[in-house]
Structure formats: C-alpha cells, structure tokens
C-alpha cells in the first residue's frame, strides 16, 4: 500500500519507542536510538513538505512528494546554522538571513533541526553515545513543537518562513 511519510506518525512512533506512557524506567537503548531518528525525520519531512508546498502550491501529491526527494540534509544544516548558530552565510544572502533571525519561531525551529540532526547521527553511528529517556523525549518534544510551529507559520502565510524555505530550496537545488 502506498502511504506518504507523515511527520505526525513518526512522532507517535518516537513517543512509543521512548516509552512515554509507560511509567518509570529506561526503555531499551536501541529503542531510544530509533526514537531519536524518528523525531529527526519527522521534522525533516515536515520541512520537505513545506518546501514542496511553497514551490508548487497547486501541484499534485505525487509532484510534491517528488520535490521533497531533492531536499538535502546538508543544505538544510547549513541554512539552519546561519540562522540559529551565528555561522556566516554568503555575503549576498546575509540581509535575508538577518531578517529570518528576527523571528524566534524560525530560529527555534532551526536550532531544533540542528540538535536533532546531530543526535540522529550519534544514535545511528556512535556506539558510545549516551541516551536517557528524559533527554530523548525532550528531543521528541522539540521535534513536535517545531513541526507544529512550522505548520502554524505556513497556515498564517509567514513571510519569514517563506524566506527560510527559499534559502533551503536554493541551497539544495535539484539533485
């Protein structure tokens, strides 16, 4: 059966793997690691859908889904680094980045992406990385909060969100 990847489903999976409703005690380490990955991909795909919707608002589901395949993790990381971590953007987009930095909602979203990306990498590759239920569920909440903020900003027609998504689109291009 063909089903698109819905961020809400990944967030629910992350909650389940993170043992949110199960009372005290740590879940298995492998479940905590997968919860981090699911949370990261929930936000990554939410941003991907938002970009596809901005670029092709009248496009079919299939066309938009195709566009999301081009969104590049590294490009997204770079743009989020300019916005949330004070990393230097190219001179010709510096003013645009400064405008986005004035919107706390987008800066929070960018920081959440960077933290999730880093933790996702550790969860998948670093045998010595240390995960606790409390910290992992906080990451899941960060992802959920960022996805919600993204959807609300999009529904409200946020011009700052449009700038952020445009920067990611141009940094990505089609690949």
């Amino acid at each position: 059966m063909q089903r698109v990847i819905r961020p809400a489903w990944l967030l629910r999976q992350a909650d389940e793997l993170g043992y949110r409703q199960a009372g005290p005690g740590q879940p298995r380490n492998s479940n905590l690691r997968r919860a981090v990955s699911a949370a990261y991909y929930a936000l990554f795909h939410a941003i991907g859908w938002a970009i596809a919707n901005q670029l092709l608002p009248a496009g079919s589901l299939e066309e938009q889904a195709g566009l999301t395949r081009s969104v590049d993790h590294g490009a997204l990381r770079n743009v989020c680094g300019w916005i949330a971590k004070g990393e230097s953007p190219p001179q010709h987009v510096a003013d645009l980045v400064k405008v986005v930095q004035g919107d706390t909602v987008i800066v929070d979203l960018a920081e959440a992406f960077l933290e999730l990306r880093e933790k996702r990498h550790a969860a998948d590759y670093d045998h010595l990385a240390d995960f606790s239920k409390e910290a992992v569920l906080n990451l899941v909440d960060s992802a959920r909060s960022a996805v919600k903020a993204l959807e609300q900003a999009q529904a409200a027609g946020s011009a700052t969100l449009a700038r952020f998504l445009t920067l990611v689109s141009l940094k990505t291009a089609i690949r």
Partner: protein, 108 residues
C-alpha cells in the same frame, strides 16, 4: 582552529555559561551543572558539546516551554559571543533511572 585554541574556546564557553546559567531556574527546570566537552560532530568538525545537568523532571521529561526557554538563553549567549566552533546542547537529568535489560523478552 588549532586543538589548543579549541580547548581554550570550550573552557571559555563553559565558564561563561556557568556564570550566566548555572543555578538559574527556567520555569520548572533548575540548571545544576554545565560541562563543555570537545568532540567531532556529524560533519567531522570539532564542536563543543554542552551537557546540562538539570533538576529531575516531574513527568517523563521536562515541559517543552521550560526547555525552550533554557535553550534560548544558551543560544543568545553563544551567538552574541560565538566560540568559533559549532555547539550542541544535551539535557540530562540529575538522576537517571536504571537501564533496561536489553536481553529480556518483551516490548521495551
């Protein structure tokens, strides 16, 4: 940046955050201790990893609004005085529950 400069930058970040954030309350969260460690990030760059030891949450994790308030305070400080290295923040409870038995049967 040389390794010596990176170590110095991490030490300066830790000191600055200890002065500005350690012992402070963010909603229900109290920051008990801050530790800055150097490591290699997902892009292979030397980065500062900030471990924040926090008061234990009353539920499964800390309220997201309080955690965001804390993250913003850290971010504002580090963006206004950039360490010259990427930085990442990990939240940890003061007391962690025991690890699960990885080999036991069951769902969790």
């Amino acid at each position: 940046m040389s390794m010596a400069d990176s170590v110095r930058a991490a030490g300066e970040v830790e000191q600055a955050l200890r002065e500005s954030v350690e012992g402070r309350q963010f909603g229900t969260i109290e920051v008990r201790k801050i530790i800055a460690l150097l490591g290699e990030d997902a892009d292979g760059q030397t980065a500062v990893y900030l471990e924040l030891i926090l008061s234990d949450p009353t539920g499964a994790t800390w309220p997201i609004e309080d955690a965001q308030q804390l993250r913003r305070a850290i971010r504002e400080q580090l963006v206004s005085e950039p360490p010259g290295l990427p930085f990442y923040v990990t939240l940890r409870p003061e007391h962690e529950a025991p690890q699960a038995d990885e080999d036991a049967e069951g769902t969790n």
